[in-house]
Symmetry: C2
Subunit: 313 residues, 2 copies
């Protein structure tokens, strides 16, 4: 069984590859919920939805989020009614938020809702939120703490980043099934997600890092930084703010003591020796997922690397 720590778009695309290489039912995604936000009174969980929609084959592929071919009539009417509609939500996507909010208010856990949604959409891979308690990723800026979605979507990641705060993380507990999955997994993959505000958030939930450190299963991470820049999203300013170099070397530093192996891109081959010098193994391959073939090949490379680690140790 393969456990993948997942953020949003990069992780979802990587998972698409993983479930082509192994049976989808043998994969568990543990998903960042630090980006979750309540808008229009509806509980929105961007990464859970991105992962679920992608695995369900209904994702809007160009953006990597939202439902393919969705309309925005509800949002336009909300705007007419005076709502602040800075966060784009399609009509079909809105249904997920409505349904989730109703079930949560009725007493269901986020884990239960995520499971209902992925089953309803025909996703065989288990999609687990990192926790059921609200954790909010906030960016520390000269203007104060700003919720990650405000920072990213509303303010276009333009604020100077002074730090990151995972509000509520200290009192969160791994969601039902998370620690069990990590314990039972023969392979742990850290998807090419933001190491600070996607994977870092998951690791901030007490118990998850310790479980990963305790497992005998190899932990293989894929660098989301290629050629000194993030493939997508604001990883660069966030890594910089926390004192990490924006490079595959910096990603290795983020995962020091946690990952046994880092998959880096061909263009970063020159950094392999530096990373190996820290005690982390390295696989060099093409990590840019342009289409299904590349997603599958990257998953294959990561899974093969994990298998070799298991044989070695």
């Amino acid at each position: 069984m393969i456990v993948t720590l997942a953020g949003g778009v990069g992780a979802a695309r990587f998972l698409e590859g993983v479930v082509k290489v192994v049976a989808p039912g043998d994969v568990v995604a543990i998903v960042n919920t630090g980006d979750d936000i309540t808008l229009h009174g509806l509980y929105i969980s961007p990464d859970l939805d991105i992962v679920t929609y992608t695995l369900a084959g209904i994702i809007e592929e160009t953006n990597g989020w939202g439902v393919r071919g969705d309309t925005t009539n509800t949002l336009e009417m909300l705007k007419k009614l005076g709502a602040d509609t800075w966060f784009l939500l399609g009509d079909r996507d809105m249904a997920t938020h409505i349904r989730r909010t109703e079930l949560l208010r009725g007493g269901a856990t986020l884990t239960e809702v995520a499971d209902q949604v992925r089953r309803a959409l025909g996703v065989a891979t288990r999609v687990l939120p990192m926790c059921d308690q609200p954790v909010g990723t906030f960016i520390r800026t000269p203007d104060g703490l700003i919720h990650f979605e405000h920072y990213l979507v509303q303010r276009h990641a333009q604020d100077q980043v002074l730090g990151v705060h995972f509000k509520g993380a200290e009192s969160a507990r791994p969601a039902n099934g998370v620690l069990e999955a990590i314990r039972e997994a023969d392979t742990i993959l850290i998807a090419p997600s933001n190491p600070i505000v996607s994977v870092g958030t998951i690791l901030a939930v007490p118990g998850i890092r310790a479980a990963l450190e305790a497992t005998a299963a190899p932990v293989v991470a894929i660098s989301p930084i290629v050629g000194g820049a993030a493939i997508k999203g604001p990883a660069a300013p966030l890594m910089q703010a926390l004192g990490y170099e924006v490079s595959a070397r910096g990603v290795a530093a983020c995962y020091a003591g946690l990952a046994d192996l880092l998959v880096i891109d061909n263009v970063d081959a020159a950094l392999a020796d530096d990373i190996r010098a820290t005690g982390m193994e390295v696989v060099i391959t093409d990590t840019i997922m342009r289409g299904p073939a590349e997603k599958r090949a990257l998953a294959q490379a990561a899974i093969a690397a994990a298998r070799e680690l298991r044989i070695e140790h």
Copy 2:
């Protein structure tokens, strides 16, 4: 100033005529909220929305409810996610329910929300819910009490009606502005709505009937029963169940002691003398609102009748 007691479709069409005859800002609609229902965790107020959308010019005219040209992508996705979607809700319409629910949860009253919505949609006529407290219209059937929307929409008004129960009405209070509007009005119109579960519900809110009985302003009702049948909706079985004849004469009986005058259709001219014998005045005209001209003419007839009553007394 004209106050109109309003249910849904019939009232909304009549109000369209009223605001062509007098300045829209001089009209106040007091609207039935007994049909209100929470679905998918969203607070839905069918009659408030029908009246508001109609006066805003965005109503789907064929049905008389919903937003013209609306899509149903949210509802279809809700169905896919396992929700029970027996109540049709369009995407633009959904925005109203989302917005209302958010504002109500934030502490706003239904009156405040209704006012925000009608202003946002450019409606100059004040649209007041009858009360801010939840009142539920339930139909007493051999299967027990059934919420009006379940009875009408889900069960197609097929149950035998044994009675009507306005749950919560006894502890409701007229919404802010309702009694003031009745006191200040020079004309009270009772729209051609269901006398039992639209107007009857409004009258069940303690204080409203008394205010209507106390006012010196003429009270003019329009019969929703033409030729022994309801123009729209389940008025017939409900009137019958409560012992009223399904006729303009039965409508007059519903409004005995309340309405000074009943506007009845030409086809019911033969009933005029019976109604007059009860002490209620009668105006006979064409009451079927096929289009704008008929709506306007009916409103004109009702307003003119009220004016004559004021001169007489």
